[in-house]
Symmetry: C2
Subunit: 219 residues, 2 copies
């Protein structure tokens, strides 16, 4: 069984890589900057996107795809920003893949989008192996989850381009050890960029928006 | 590829069920009460076990198996209680399975254990399909994760016997909507037992310990 599943898994990942490469070419051609977000359930992906999309809407055309096993709660939350949003329900699958993203976008006019956010299923393991064609992969970790997540889930931190530490407003309430957290990030992924912020009180939002906006060309 | 992976997956789950049934018979024979804990990363499984094992050690012989992709941080934290603890490193695998549990216990004297805790990898999706032979499966959700987790991750709540709401001490800091959370649990899994607690300030610990101890026969 093990040899067979490794082989099947390899085929699936190979097919995903092919489809992701296609998507990446399409995104470049259409001038869409694609940012994916991965994290544990409840780390604040949707809250960050709500605030981000509202902040960017004046200057950029933004849109979002949102993955969840069930419900369209997140899509409904994000749609309140007025931007186009679509929910992908994965059923029992613990991650998005490039085919789900490509199929969801099939009838969208990508030329009308400057920044597309892709919010993955809440999971610190499964999304690591699946390239979605994104230009920037962001891994979120909240101060309430503890400082050791990078050490315990190294794979996801190794596939990310940027770490966002969320819920900074709760740091003192949960006695968050910032030095230990930054050390653990640096140990797992030396040199990776880190932004600390709070979607509640707005701390650090400026650095985050500055990181996103110059990469996105306003068409 | 899809048909083949469904077939391989079925075989793996069938083999896991067989092994889990064996374990369940063994646990009954040896009189070990086995409690497994599943949750998002950082929901407080290890913190709850630290406090629980310290509280029960006077009256029961307790032990723990702890699953993580990498590190033995959790085993080291729990070992401070003085109880036997073993870490299982799953590598890239997002859940424990019955074989990992069985293999880890192979050289343990189960007759010397009253309660065995099995802490799964932090993940609200993958552990759902894998029976570990436990008598009680507990799903933890922290108040900091938001109220919607039962709706978004229904499968794991459907395989659990008990919901523990953790980090109750942070409820007001995060404006936790307790009524909505309890409603979402009840919608997903009508009638399931819920215990609300804090491993920090001890709120609700008594109900939790009362739930565990009578099920475990002191040998």
């Amino acid at each position: 069984v093990t040899a067979r599943i490794v082989e099947v898994r390899k085929n699936i990942l190979r097919e995903n890589d092919r489809r992701a490469a296609e998507l990446r070419r399409l995104f470049e051609e259409k001038g869409v900057f694609v940012v994916s977000l991965v994290s544990s359930p409840g780390a604040g992906k949707t809250a960050l996107l709500e605030r981000t999309m509202r902040a960017l809407r004046g200057s950029h055309r933004v849109a979002a795809l949102v993955g969840d096993l069930a419900t369209d709660n997140d899509a409904r939350r994000l749609a309140r920003s007025g931007a186009p949003v679509r929910q992908i329900n994965t059923g029992a699958v613990c991650h998005l893949d490039a085919a789900m993203v490509g199929d969801s976008l099939a009838d969208w006019d990508l030329s009308g989008i400057d920044i597309l956010f892709v919010e993955n299923v809440g999971n610190l393991v499964c999304p690591a192996s699946y390239d979605l064609g994104e230009q920037l992969r962001v891994v979120l970790m909240s101060v309430t989850e503890g400082e050791d997540k990078p050490l315990k889930y190294p794979t996801i931190f190794n596939t990310a381009d940027l770490v966002v530490v969320t819920k900074a407003d709760l740091a003192s309430a949960v006695r968050f050890d910032r030095t230990a957290a930054l050390e653990n990030i640096a140990t797992t992924r030396p040199g990776i960029e880190v932004i600390e912020l709070s979607s509640q009180d707005g701390t650090g939002m400026e650095s985050w928006l500055r990181r996103l906006a110059p990469s996105a060309v306003r068409k």
